[in-house]
């Protein structure tokens, strides 16, 4: 089986990016939109074909899905052992991610044709979308850590470009900078982690890195007794790598960029900040999962707790926000925390790797329903021209399609029985229950909170008070509603994909059965959350205001996102800029610059004081020259004659 054609999946968006990006204004908007959509559509079809070939025809060898290197090329060679390759690897998670990324990307491309219609820089937007698709697909199929790092930065750049798309708005510019700097800071850890890990393993290659036999040797190969703060070097390497993942996936405490990233156009939020790029961190941990699980269980514990704390933290904040996109952003953060948590409670062995599968399962279903939620929110914003939930209400009458599709996504994320979120969440909860009780309790609380804040959003937007609009909201055009309907289909039925047959940490399918003892109580908790929200927000009522009054300072703290942004500002502005940077600036100005200025001043002083010798009178120069010549002539005559 020749898999080289998979290269086209990655290169098509790149070609589109170059074409649209270079032609830019000389290309009609319609053509750019169609070209971008067609190219990602082709990539989608190719991914479907690849997935079919991989999962059903060629992938399974000896009862396990194998890693297949479809293409590999040496890109940079430093020494025989140190070289960087670019290539395409196919294994269950990369093929699954190919499907997720191309599906969501295709939907977002179609949707953007309607949403971005008539915007300035329409072509630029599509070229950036293609750039992002290229980078994300390249990240997913990376054969080695370094290729992943390269594309990791590329998705960061495209995210930066797309968040700052409305570059006339200062808030958008600030948000794009914040996103870039925060993730870049996290990537510093990632890079150090890569270097540490590859220093001891001598390879960047995933296939070699994740061989179970090799990992057993890895823990031995780490120099004996080298532990730092009680953790082994390999644990530190993996924790640092996870730091990069946490930055991209907006995990606590590196999450501060995600809510602000909502300044970008809504399709971008749906594609990058809900479905694909932000799960790159989860994907990274999943990619290196055998090492995490076998060589560094401590690092995996860190992953678990960071995931659990982030999911709870974000879910609490989401209950108080009024900006519809910010609620969804915190919800994304919370759900990604869920995925991290699921990875953390998993192990690399027969029978206890449910968490891994659950995490990947939730990643897929979440991508579908969260993209749908964001695109639905975009449709609402398109109609109402505001992001604030306070300006919305009673929209079900005006926007029936958005109402129904958004409703499906809402039920899916709440874990309504039968929809996709129900199954994936259940698997995560089962995995958590089997492994770690405190984490399980957190996960259950988060499930209830999720149901509450999503219902709050849903009821206050589509029901609630009857807002008077300046102009009557209307349903969005077909290009926007069709992707909503397709995604709604996935949001309902993605849960019926038997993930335990396809995506497992070892590649071997296992049997899982439904755990009613977890599903029923958790569903009841979700219903309670939905019920509270129904009481509070279905009709306009005074109760929410009273509740916030009663909990005044708690509410204010949560509303201000636990003041994490303020803490960051304090650390950067007051401590870094105010004390450290001030001292360095003083040193720079008064020591380094002063030395250089000293040279200049001395030179200047000398030249000023001797420049009087220059009269500008050619004849004086001639006289001096002549006197010199005669003087030397006399000297030579005296010496030699």
């Amino acid at each position: 089986m020749d898999w080289t054609y998979t290269l086209a999946i990655i290169l098509l968006p790149l070609a589109t990016f170059l074409t649209i990006g270079l032609l830019d204004k000389s290309m009609p908007n319609k053509l750019a939109g169609v070209l971008g959509t067609a190219s990602i559509g082709t990539a989608f079809l190719l991914s479907c074909y690849t997935a079919y070939q991989y999962f059903f025809v060629h992938g399974m060898v000896d009862g396990a899905y194998q890693k297949i290197v479809a293409f590999n090329m040496e890109w940079l060679r430093f020494t025989d052992t140190l070289h960087i390759d670019l290539g395409v690897i196919l294994d269950p998670i990369s093929v699954m991610m190919l499907m997720v990324v191309t599906t969501v990307s295709l939907m977002v491309h179609i949707y953007s044709n309607g949403y971005m219609h008539g915007e300035r820089g329409f072509n630029k937007f599509f070229s950036f979308l293609s750039l992002f698709s290229f980078s994300m697909l390249g990240l997913v199929v990376a054969t080695n850590l370094f290729q992943m790092y390269i594309f990791w930065e590329l998705v960061g750049v495209s995210s930066f470009l797309l968040i700052g798309y409305y570059y006339e708005k200062p808030s958008a510019v600030a948000a794009s900078k914040k996103a870039f700097i925060t993730t870049r800071f996290a990537d510093l850890g990632f890079l150090i982690g890569i270097l540490l890990l590859s220093w001891y393993t001598g390879t960047f290659d995933f296939t070699e890195l994740t061989q179970t036999t090799a990992i057993g040797g890895l823990a031995m190969a780490m120099p004996m007794g080298t532990s730092f703060l009680g953790l082994s070097i390999v644990s530190w390497a993996l924790i640092l790598i996870f730091m990069g993942g946490a930055g991209k996936s907006a995990m606590f405490p590196l999450h501060i960029w995600l809510p602000d990233a909502m300044e970008g156009p809504t399709p971008v939020s749906a594609l990058i900040h809900a479905a694909t790029m932000v799960v790159a961190g989860v994907y990274l941990v999943a990619r290196l999962f055998p090492i995490y699980a076998i060589a560094a269980p401590d690092a995996l514990t860190v992953v678990m707790w960071v995931g659990a704390i982030s999911s709870l933290f974000a879910a609490i904040i989401a209950c108080t926000q009024y900006d519809i996109k910010r609620v969804l952003a915190f919800s994304t953060m919370s759900q990604i925390g869920y995925m991290m948590l699921a990875l953390g409670v998993s192990q690399y062995s027969e029978g206890s790797n449910l968490g891994f599968t659950a995490s990947m399962f939730h990643l897929t279903t979440h991508a579908m329903f969260k993209a749908l939620l964001f695109l639905g929110a975009g449709s609402i914003i398109h109609a109402v021209h505001s992001n604030s939930m306070l300006d919305m209400g009673g929209l079900r009458k005006y926007m029936p399609i958005t109402f129904v599709t958004f409703g499906i996504a809402w039920l899916a994320i709440c874990g309504f029985p039968g929809l996709s979120g129900f199954f994936s969440k259940d698997e995560i909860l089962v995995a958590a229950m089997q492994h770690n009780t405190p984490v399980f309790i957190i996960a259950v609380i988060v499930a209830g909170l999720t149901a509450f804040y999503m219902s709050r959003l849903f009821f206050s937007v589509f029901f609630g008070k009857n807002t008077h609009y300046h102009h009557t909201p209307h349903e969005s055009p077909k290009t926007m509603t069709i992707p909503l309907m397709i995604l709604a289909f996935f949001a309902v039925f993605a849960g019926y994909i038997p993930f335990n047959e396809f995506v497992t940490s070892t590649g071997e399918p296992f049997h899982s059965h439904f755990h009613w003892n977890v599903a029923i109580p958790v569903t009841l908790i979700a219903f309670i959350g939905m019920g509270i929200a129904f009481v509070l927000y279905y009709k306009e009522s005074e109760i929410p205001t009273k509740v916030t009054k009663a909990l005044s300072w708690v509410y204010t703290t949560i509303f201000h996102k636990f003041y994490i942004d303020e803490i960051y500002l304090f650390v950067t502005k007051k401590i870094l800029f105010g004390i450290v940077a001030r001292f360095i600036a003083w040193f720079d100005r008064h020591v380094i610059d002063a030395t250089m200025n000293g040279f200049a001043i001395v030179t200047n002083y000398v030249s000023v004081s001797i420049k009087g010798l220059q009269s500008g009178q050619i004849q004086k120069y001639g006289l001096i020259f002549l006197s010199g010549a005669i003087f030397f002539a006399l000297v030579f005559i005296y010496l030699f004659v």
Binding site: Q614, S615, G616, Q617, I618, Q619, G622, L626
Partner: protein
């Protein structure tokens, strides 16, 4: 070898020419005159070359060649110098060398 004229006589003439040139170069204020003075210096050296060649090494040719070389250079130098002088005149409406000292620093 020229009948009745000694080498020293000619050398006295060229030395006089040379110092007249130097004097003119240092004392005259008119740029054209300065240029002429520098031509005098060059030509006195040229005569020296010819004379030394003729009197001391009658079979060699290097002295003549050098003289021709000097004449060529003098011609080129005159062309450049006159072009500069014309431009100076256009700019300052004078060719008095004392008034043209703006580029000293």
């Amino acid at each position: 070898m020229i009948q009745g004229i000694e080498l020293q006589h000619i050398l006295i003439i060229t030395t006089l020419m040379f110092f007249v040139g130097v004097y003119g170069f240092l004392v005259r204020r008119n740029l054209i005159t300065i240029l002429m003075a520098s031509e005098l210096i060059l030509n006195s050296v040229g005569i020296n070359f010819v004379v030394f060649n003729k009197y001391l090494y009658p079979t060699a040719m290097q002295g003549y060649m050098f003289t021709i070389f000097i004449i060529a250079i003098a011609a080129a130098e005159a062309a450049v110098a006159i072009a500069i002088i014309i431009n100076v005149y256009r700019r300052y409406k004078t060719i008095n060398v004392e008034n043209v000292s703006e580029m000293k620093y």
